[in-house]
Symmetry: C2
C-alpha cells in the first residue's frame, strides 16, 4: 500500500471520439515504413515487398481476458503477440498493426491508454508499429488487431503442410505450460499470490521469441529451414495435431523432452491439485513458434520435443505422446 | 406468408470451431492475388505494389446495426463497404479483406453464413476477396473488417489535407440522406412499411460507387485529380468539416445543390415529422466519396455541392451552408 492519490476516474463517455484519440495516439511511435499514419481514411505503409502477409484476431473481455486479473498494458501486449505470432509463423517479419478497439462508455480512458501503450511497446520490440485504428462503443471491452508483414520475392511462406517423415518437431520456447498455469491460478482466484506471479504475468502477456519465425526458421539466404510451422495458440497437442493433419504425418511427442517443463511447474500445480502435464500438453496462448526441421538442422532457439513419422497403413495423421494417444484435449472457442 | 418450412435453429455452440469454419469458408471466393488463403496462420496476398493501404472498422450489434431490422447479408455488405470506402478514399483500389467475427454461442450458423456471403459478395463487386478471418465468442455479435489495397509507385495518396481555395466540393452520389432516412424509419419501428423499403435497405447496406475513388478521382496517368478526399461516414457536415479543418480552408455548401436530395426525401420525412435537411446534412453511413476538385475538372460521377474558400482573417477553417453556420450536428460514438 502507498499513499499515492488514486487518479479520478475518467470514463470515456466524457470525451469526444477525437478527444479520446488525442489521448491514445501519442502512445504510438512511428517508423520509416509509415508513409501515412493514423488520422486519414487509411494508413499507407511501405512493405519489404508486395507479398503481403496478414492475420487478424480478437480479444474480448470475459472470454480472452479477465479485467480484474490483468492490466491494460498486458491486454495490449497480448493482443500484439497473438497477431504478430501468426505473421512470424509464416516465416515473415511483421511491419505494422492496425487495431479496432470497442469499449463501453464507462471504460476509463487510462485503460484505453494502457492498452494502446502495451500494444505499441510489444510490437516495437519486433520492429512493428501501430499505423491505424478504430474506436467504437460496445457493451464489452474488445480489441481486434490485424498484423501486417511481407515475404521477400522468392521466399516461400512456411506453411502447416510441409512436415516430412524423419523431421524433428521443435518448439521456440525454453518452457511450455506457463500460460496454462497462470490461467489456472487466475480461475482459482489466487492470481495475487506471490508464488504464481511469473505464470500469471506470462498468461496475461506471453512473451515468446517471435523473431525465431523469420530468423532461425530460415537460412541466411532466406530459404526455409523449417519444413512446417505454426504458433502454439490453442495448446501443443492441438496445434501440433494441426501440423500433423495438414502435413499428412504422425507427430510423436517425446515425454522425456517435455518432462523438464512439467518439473518446472510441479510446485505450482500441487497447491491447486492440478496436473502440470495438462498445462504443458494442452495449455494455450503460449504463442511460441512450433516447427518441424530436418533432424540434423534444428537451429538455435528451438529445442526438439518430438519426431515425425509416416502414418502406418490405415492410420490417420495425428499426434501421439511416446507412441500412445495423448490424454485430455485442447480448447474449442464455442464448445 | 409462404408455407415453406422454417429451417431448424442451428446455434453455433453445437458446432466446433473447425465445423463452423467449414460452413462459412465455402462462401469465400478467391482471386489471382491470393497466394495463401484462409487455413494457415496468415494469408499471403500479392498487392499491386509494396505501398500497402490499410484501414479497419468494427460493426457491433446494438450500436451499428439492429438485428431485427436488417439481414445477415446486409450486415456483411455494410461491413465491407465501410472499410472498402476508407481505402477508396485514399485513391486506392482494395485487393483483400480480413474479418474477425465474434458471436454468442446462441447465434445461428445461418446468420454467420449470411454475413460471410454478404461480405464476400460486396467486396467482389470491387474486385476484392476475403483472405482470412478469426472466429471468437462474445456476448454480442460484432465483426471487425480490415481492408487492404495498394498505391502504385509514384501515385500520391489522396489525403484530407489538400483542398485549396477555388476548388469545388463534390460528392460521388446522386442522392444523399438515404441512410439517415432509413435509420429514422428503423428507430421509429416502421422499417417494414413499403414506403421506407428503399431507404431501409440503403441504411442497412449502403451501396455507393466506391470505384470513383480510384478511377474518377485520378487522371488516366494516375496523378490525382481530387485535391482532397474522404468518405461520408459520419455525415456530410461532419466529414466535410474534417476536410476543411485538415486543409485549413472554409467549405461553403450550396443549399440549392442539395435541395434536390431534400425534395427526394420529403415524402419519407412527413410521416415521421422529421426534417429531411437533417438527413442530407448530418446523416452518416453513406460512404460516398466526398472530394475537392479544381472548378474546371470535376469528373463524371461526382456532382458539385459546394465551394472552397480561404478563411478570412481570424476565421477558423470550417464548413458553412450558403455562408452561414450549419444547424444541428453529426454523430459522436461516445457522446
Amino acid at each position: 500500500m502507498t499513499n499515492e492519490p488514486t487518479p479520478a476516474p475518467a470514463p470515456i463517455a466524457h470525451l469526444s471520439e477525437s478527444g479520446l484519440l488525442e489521448r491514445i495516439l501519442p502512445a504510438l511511435p512511428s517508423s520509416d515504413a509509415v508513409e501515412i499514419g493514423p488520422g486519414d481514411d487509411s494508413a499507407v505503409v511501405r512493405l519489404a515487398s508486395p507479398r503481403l502477409v496478414v492475420s487478424t484476431d480478437t480479444l474480448t473481455e470475459g472470454q480472452d481476458f479477465l479485467l480484474p486479473a490483468t492490466r491494460p498494458e498486458w491486454i495490449g501486449a497480448k493482443a500484439a503477440v497473438q497477431n504478430l505470432a501468426d505473421v512470424a509463423a509464416m516465416g515473415a517479419r511483421p511491419t505494422a498493426l492496425v487495431v479496432a478497439l470497442s469499449a463501453p462508455g464507462t471504460a476509463d480512458v487510462t485503460t484505453l491508454e494502457g492498452i494502446s501503450r502495451g500494444l505499441a511497446a510489444r510490437a516495437g520490440r519486433d520492429g512493428a508499429v501501430v499505423v491505424g485504428g478504430d474506436l467504437g462503443a460496445a457493451d464489452a471491452l474488445s480489441l481486434t488487431v490485424t498484423a501486417l508483414g511481407a515475404l521477400a520475392e522468392g521466399h516461400a511462406p512456411i506453411l502447416r503442410t510441409g512436415a516430412r517423415a524423419g523431421d524433428v518437431l521443435a518448439v521456440g520456447s525454453p518452457l511450455l505450460g506457463r500460460s496454462g498455469a497462470g490461467l489456472a491460478w487466475i480461475l482459482a482466484d489466487r492470481h495475487h499470490e506471490a508464488l504464481a506471479a511469473d505464470v500469471v504475468a506470462w498468461h496475461n502477456a506471453p512473451d515468446p521469441r517471435l523473431e525465431l519465425g523469420w530468423t532461425a526458421a530460415r537460412r541466411p539466404d532466406g530459404t526455409a529451414r523449417a519444413s512446417a510451422m505454426i504458433d502454439v495458440s490453442d495448446g501443443l497437442v492441438r496445434d501440433g495435431g494441426r501440423l500433423a493433419r495438414r502435413s499428412g504425418v504422425v507427430i510423436d511427442l517425446d515425454r522425456e523432452a517435455l518432462a523438464a517443463d512439467v518439473r518446472a511447474l510441479v510446485d505450482l500445480a500441487a497447491p491447486l491439485g492440478a496436473d502440470p502435464w495438462s498445462w504443458v500438453l494442452h495449455g494455450g496462448e503460449e504463442h511460441a513458434m512450433l516447427a518441424t526441421f530436418p533432424a540434423d538442422d534444428v537451429p538455435e532457439g528451438f529445442r526438439p520435443i518430438g519426431v515425425v513419422h509416416r502414418p502406418a497403413a490405415g492410420e490417420e495423421p495425428f499426434i501421439l505422446l511416446d507412441g500412445r494417444t495423448v490424454p485430455g484435449e485442447g480448447f474449442d472457442h464455442f464448445a
